[in-house]
Assembly symmetry: C2
Homo-oligomer: 251 residues x 2
């Protein structure tokens, strides 16, 4: 037998990695997108990503490299997990490209490389990407939809909501994350009761802040717990609700 795949009659395909970097800013769930400077889909929005650099590069390493190129952040600084692989034969008009997609969640940080790179990566509301009107390259609209659905589900039974928050945050800020990601208002008092009842989720810092207005709130850090027991489930009715800051009561 052959000692190397290259000697075989096996179809070789190009493998890309794409990133869906989600964040919450300006009261909206947003996703990092780049405007394509070359054909195909020139001028359209696409996910940041790229091909493997060499035949020896690990998938995770390729993702970490792309992440650093687009955001200046290292993979250890935020939550990163494999989302899914997309491999329809006609998904790239240039030829057969299979893309392994990753999901990243990050707090509302400035992008260090924004503007420095030729490719202008910026955050776009997911609402806009998923809407009819937007021009999205490749099958990236589908990928974004899958990523958002994954993130929404993960908030239910993991502590990943805190991945959208700065290192120290209040329960109210965490609740805003949930409301914005789920697109549904939550009762502040019940959320407070439930989130403080999960062992190992929140570690009080002893500090207080009144940056959100109103009575000063206690500041917390992320605890060691990765899974939430019991989970905080989404309200049953996923109506695209108006998640306004004031009057969060459904009228």
């Amino acid at each position: 037998m052959a000692d190397d795949i290259k000697d075989w009659r096996i179809p070789m395909v190009a493998v890309a990695v794409d990133l869906t970097v989600l964040t919450v800013r300006a009261e909206l769930l947003q996703i990092l997108m780049v405007e394509r400077g070359i054909q195909p889909f020139r001028g359209m929005l696409a996910l940041p990503g790229g091909f493997l650099e060499s035949r020896r590069e690990d998938l995770d390493a390729a993702v970490a490299r792309e992440l650093a190129e687009e955001t200046g952040l290292s993979a250890e600084q935020l939550h990163l997990e494999q989302l899914r692989t997309y491999g329809a034969p006609d998904r790239d008009p240039r030829g057969r490209v299979i893309t392994v997609c990753y999901l990243a969640l990050m707090p509302n940080l400035p992008l260090p490389r924004a503007g420095g790179d030729a490719r202008a990566a910026r955050f776009v509301p997911v609402e806009h990407v998923l809407g009819r009107g937007a021009a999205i390259a490749f099958d990236h609209r589908t990928i974004v939809a899958d990523a958002v659905e994954r993130a929404r589900g993960k908030l239910e039974y993991t502590s990943l909501g805190a991945a959208f928050c700065p290192p120290e945050f209040t329960i109210g800020e965490l609740r805003r994350v949930y409301e914005i990601v789920w697109g549904h208002p939550l009762d502040p008092r019940n959320f407070h009761r439930k989130i403080t009842g999960v062992p190992g989720f929140l570690v009080p810092t002893g500090e207080r802040t009144s940056r959100d207005g109103g009575r000063p709130a206690a500041l917390y850090r992320r605890g060691p717990a990765a899974l939430m027991h019991p989970p905080i489930l989404r309200p049953a009715n996923p109506v695209p609700q108006n998640v306004d800051r004031r009057r969060s009561r459904v009228s």
Copy 2:
């Protein structure tokens, strides 16, 4: 720019699809494996799978083809979903191979092609594959572990437990599936209450059977519901329990 990926300086890699086909038979959770007839890892157990046949073959089509080759079943006959992609650079000693893995669940059916094919695909208890002693090719032990964990989790909040059952089944048979997959005894009365309380999960056929001994049980078919509300959660303590048929009470 080039019109085709092949004209670029992009590393091309071999893409494989692998199958983790789970079933419950002989009171054990088992997985379909093949014994490798060629190097590397000759004689060791590996997941059924193979490379893309052409540069135009869809991933899902490749999986369906492999499934038919190994089991004689078509993709419509059982539950099939993408599990994860494994792409460590050194996972295949022959060269760079990325494998897109799929999870399939099937009832306890005879394998039509078993024996007909040169490669002898057979079911092996997952316990054996995950154990220290077994000789498993590539990173397939890790893949099996991920597949089992995915299946265990899916039983909680989807109706996939019925995918392990024949078209008509009793609640007791479904409960045995849960007990064997989770490795934990369940209270028959509580399970009965919960499973019958999920709207759209079970459709009574009106028939009864006493094939399991004891009082005749009603036969059901799978209902239209895909998700279970409320979910049936695994017992908190995932101790590898003795799931004997008799005396399922923890002593």
